[in-house]
């Protein structure tokens, strides 16, 4: 449904997006993940035809966005980072205007407005002025705007930004319900979002794609070992040697010490749960067990691992470049 080939975008000397390629299948939800200033917004703006790429091509529903922009844009719904609303219009007036310029047939306009208002739960504010709505409502009006012409492809730039937790869950459910009939690309720097809504993830950093795959695949690929965090009250050296002796444990490392209480990270062999054995070892020795939990690689760890890889001494340099890029993008 969406093909992105060798996309590169330069702003003067800075490279905002470098040779990005990926494809999205029909009905799929693709998560676009990366730290701020990674090039997510730039890539999305190129896909929607708002920005011309320096090189590379984008096809939406078979139409090249550069050669047939009108045909491609008819298949596109786009929610930018800041919902593009006219604050002096009421919700209904705004949706009617957007429907008109998105070629919704005159006869269907009213029905479509009703449908999207229902879907995005903004029906209760349809006669209110958008400027007087809260950020959460505005965000959902923006989402309704992207859906008004029932597009095949939806590009959502941080769709849950500014929403309260309940609204975030509702929006996620809404996006999930769109899968199948719509193809969705959604960008975010919030990780749980990706694992909860997306079937596939493209991780982007400093303008290049660093990983592509299902969230579970990424986790599995990077997880070389398991680890358990234990907080115990007792003499640290003795605890460490005792835990080291538990079968299945590779290594015990101190993480934090507070008074008589120590937190240790216990690295274990892959696919082996040693928590019961660890608890027994501690309790049998008469120490106080305060906490015991697995710290398997979360998406956060993967994200950090992917986006901070080989940073070393260029870290400062990269940071500066990224913030410069972010400024240009904004």
């Amino acid at each position: 449904m969406i093909q992105v080939e060798n996309l590169t975008k330069r702003y003067g000397p800075t490279l905002a997006v470098s040779d990005v390629s990926f494809e999205v299948q029909k009905g799929e939800i693709l998560g676009f993940l990366g730290p701020n200033g990674a090039g997510k917004t730039t890539t999305m703006r190129i896909i929607t035809g708002f920005l011309p790429p320096s090189s590379g091509r984008v096809r939406v529903a078979g139409y090249d966005i550069a050669d047939e922009p009108i045909a491609a844009k008819k298949c596109l719904g786009y929610l930018p980072e800041n919902p593009p609303v006219y604050t002096d219009m009421t919700v209904n007036e705004y949706l009617a205007f957007v429907g008109r310029i998105k070629s919704v047939p005159r006869g269907e306009l009213k029905k479509r407005i009703g449908e999207v208002s229902e879907k995005c739960s903004i029906a209760d504010v349809q006669h209110r002025q958008i400027g007087k709505l809260s950020k959460g409502y505005r965000q959902r009006v923006g989402l309704a705007q992207a859906l008004i012409h029932n597009p095949d492809v939806l590009i959502l730039d941080e769709p849950t930004a500014g929403l309260d937790p309940k609204q975030i869950i509702e929006t996620r459910e809404l996006i999930k319900s769109l899968a199948g009939q719509h193809t969705v690309i959604l960008s975010t720097h919030i990780l749980p979002e990706v694992s909860k809504t997306c079937q596939r993830v493209v991780v982007i950093n400093k303008g290049t794609v660093v990983a592509v795959g299902a969230p579970e695949e990424l986790t599995a690929r990077l997880q070389g070992y398991g680890s358990v965090l234990v907080t115990v009250e007792g003499p640290a050296p003795e605890i460490m040697s005792k835990l080291q002796a538990v079968p299945g444990v590779n290594l015990v490392e101190p993480v934090e010490a507070m008074g008589a209480r120590v937190t240790l990270e216990v690295h274990t062999e892959k696919n082996r749960d040693v928590r019961a054995d660890l608890a027994r070892a501690i309790v049998e020795s008469g120490w106080g067990l305060f906490e015991l939990k697995t710290s398997g690689m979360s998406l956060e760890d993967i994200f950090l691992k992917l986006t901070t890889r080989d940073l070393g001494e260029e870290a400062a340099h990269a940071e500066a470049a990224a913030s410069a890029k972010a400024e240009v993008v904004n």
């Binding site: 920005l51 011309p52 844009k73 008109r100 998105k102």
Partner: protein, 258 residues
């Protein structure tokens, strides 16, 4: 066409849902009304004086030449220099500031449709100002008998003059997200084009005649007299086309810099 009308409708809505339209119309009505009254009152006093002197001296003081023409020639154009920037300043600057430009440029409409819609919307607001003008002039028909034909040329002239400024002002509005900057720059630019023909006062030769030809005033004189000259029509239509063309180039360059 549907897209153009949708954009034009949105612009009209925006003008009349903000104080801008009412402010511009009110200021115009007050200024236009004051000048109209002054010219008319002066005319009345002078004609009385002429009669008292036995009708000697200037024989044919027509109301067209002594009230309507100076109104168009001397003051209305200057009032427009001041007020048109207030109409055009928001056209693109506001879309850029609020981010709605992203909606327009990613919708299945061409740049030209957006520009045409915005221009049409601004033109309609300006049209109400022409209506106000002729509302004042219409009262002359109640108490006197001015000739109506020159009024057509004057209306066409004022319309073209304003439309040219609107096209240029729209172009200037694409450069900034700040409406005040757009208004100030537009006003300065309009004033400069307005007084370009002053060069003829202190120099002659090809440069000065070209500059004088480019001036907005040079081409308004004939219209104010009640004459439609093809040369002037071509000039104003060219300025309008140029303004729209420059706007479309500027919007093209805008992509990527917003």
């Amino acid at each position: 066409m549907r897209n153009i009308l949708a954009v034009a409708g949105k612009e009209i809505r925006a003008y009349f849902h903000s104080p801008i339209a009412y402010l511009v119309m009110a200021v115009y009505a007050v200024l236009c009304g004051f000048f109209f009254y002054s010219f008319t009152a002066t005319y009345v006093v002078q004609t009385f004086r002429m009669q008292a002197m036995g009708g000697m001296g200037m024989p044919n003081m027509t109301i067209n030449d002594y009230v309507i023409r100076p109104l168009f020639e001397g003051v209305l154009t200057i009032v427009l220099l001041l007020l048109i920037p207030l109409i055009t300043m928001r056209l693109y600057a506001e879309e850029k500031r609020s981010g709605t430009i992203e909606l327009l440029l990613t919708s299945p409409v061409t740049d030209f449709q957006i520009i045409a819609g915005k221009f049409l919307g601004a033109l309609l607001l300006f049209g109400t100002m022409i209506v106000i003008t002729f509302g004042f002039i219409g009262t002359l028909f109640l108490y006197g008998n001015p000739s109506a034909k020159p009024l057509i040329a004057q209306a066409v002239g004022l319309f073209l003059f304003g439309a040219s400024l609107l096209a240029l002002g729209m172009w200037i509005s694409t450069f900034t997200r700040n409406q005040i900057i757009a208004a100030v720059v537009s006003f300065a630019a309009f004033l400069l084009i307005y007084v370009l023909d002053w060069v003829t006062a202190y120099s002659n030769g090809p440069v000065s005649s070209v500059l004088s030809y480019m001036s907005l005033t040079t081409h308004f004189d004939a219209f104010a007299k009640g004459v439609v000259d093809l040369k002037d029509l071509v000039y104003y239509l060219s300025v309008i086309v140029l303004g729209i063309f420059l706007t479309s180039r500027s919007v093209e360059a805008l992509k990527g810099r917003v």
